[in-house]
Symmetry: C2
Subunit: 286 residues, 2 copies
Amino acid sequence: MKTEWLESFIETAKTKSLSKASEQLHMTQPALSKQMRKLEEDLGVTLFIRSATGVELTSAGEILLQEGESILSSVHALQKKLVSTQEACDLTIGTWQSMAAFYLPYQLASAKDHNRHIDIKTSHHYYDLLEQLESNQIDGALFDDREVQHTYWSKLLFKEDFYLFVNDQHRLAEKESVSFKDFKEEPIVVLPPGCDVRTLVEKAYNRHNLKISIANEIEFAQSIMGFISANLGISILPEIFMRHLQSSNIKALPITDFKFKREISLVAKNPDVGKMLYTLFFKTRS
Amino acid sequence: MKTEWLESFIETAKTKSLSKASEQLHMTQPALSKQMRKLEEDLGVTLFIRSATGVELTSAGEILLQEGESILSSVHALQKKLVSTQEACDLTIGTWQSMAAFYLPYQLASAKDHNRHIDIKTSHHYYDLLEQLESNQIDGALFDDREVQHTYWSKLLFKEDFYLFVNDQHRLAEKESVSFKDFKEEPIVVLPPGCDVRTLVEKAYNRHNLKISIANEIEFAQSIMGFISANLGISILPEIFMRHLQSSNIKALPITDFKFKREISLVAKNPDVGKMLYTLFFKTRS
DNA sequence: TATGGGTATAACAAAAGGTTATAGGTGATA
DNA sequence: TATCACCTATAACCTTTTGTTATACCCATA
């Protein structure tokens, strides 16, 4: 049985007329006539006595009119409750600014059929993210958690390579690709410690027994791009920063001997919430 | 929203699996998958977290599982109540045996979509029918009520002519039609007084200033046919008796100067019940 | 007896709901 | 780590439902 039929029935019973009710219900009279036949068939009872002057209720119809309304209203109440409980748990995702700028919006946009509000909170450090997860300020976090001790639910989303970002006037800008020896002496602009990019870059330098020479430490990745654009420095950043680079004077060069990749995972305290976030926003759709 | 969706949801929530639930519900897994998407869309909430290992409920789903069952059961209870109140008022129709034999069964059969039990009670006299109407032993009666004083609801169903019924060996059997002068001397077999056929036949004789000559008075119309079939008499009966006459040795001849018609009406004490009976069983369908 | 308001039906178009076939993810296991 | 069993999602297709318009018919009434 359809609740819509019940609504139609109640209107029809009240107006004692299929034609009048059909106007109220914004449908045609034959459509309503069919609906009411369906309802009678479905319930197995005769609800109306139809005549050329309108319809009147049978005794079964009278009962349905009384009790149907209460059923309908409990359905509506339930629906309201469901929606509100869902709204009550609007979701907040914490991550780096780069992800918030270049990745998250697209993912959120790709999930059309959800009905939740998503907030995004950006951080500069692991421990900010972990703290916010622990205190339920955020429901999920996006970062490379391989070097981080935690007991949360986690799910790998994607891996990405690192590139050397240089101004197109830089001496290396002509090259197709670079290796550590090409720039090992050169100071680079880095993100602050506690961010996965910084950790991985340091690991890569260590692996080559090189000591990283830091030109500047900048919290906002966007500012690093500004530095490079002004030819004030170079930097090592993951692939995601290449987006929106087309019309700029910055080049991203593959680093042949940078063996590490960044692996962004979705981390959540509550596994159910994590799975839901994953399913709704990050699962690759065909 | 469809109650069927709710049932499907509950089964799915309980088995935590679309495939398993779909078996229980006797449908295919993709069909159930579609249903649950529809339900989510209709309610505007996410009910499941789907994964390759099955589904789990979101918090909205948990609530729906709890409260949905009670809604479903109240719907089922309501339906039961409706059916039983309708069954409680099974209908009884009173009429002559001829109507019960040649007319009523076809009318009842032609109304396929009702769901009531109809009883038929036969009588030989007006006052039996009226008494049973008054005492609610019958809900409706079929007879020609023009000569009967009553205050009930009434609705004309059809009119029919009278014919002279004779054995095919009878001297009049060769004629295409007859008039009163052809048989005015001949005694006829009649139904007892108090039945509309008898009343109308007497009126017709009176109109011609003839005195009816009664051969036999027989309560059961069927027995009259036996009399004629054995060539023991002739009779004046309405058209309805011509049904099932094909393979018999009885002929029905139009009576050219029999001006009266029988007018069978549906008579009911309660107008609503009358209208319902009319609508369900006697209204001419195109 | 024409007319206006009521319901039912026919014919058709659109939407919903089902089916099979198949893809692709996940976890257990050899 | 390859494979298998099992899960859900999607595509393509067919049938049923549900809506529309046009029209017939019934009935009360002016």
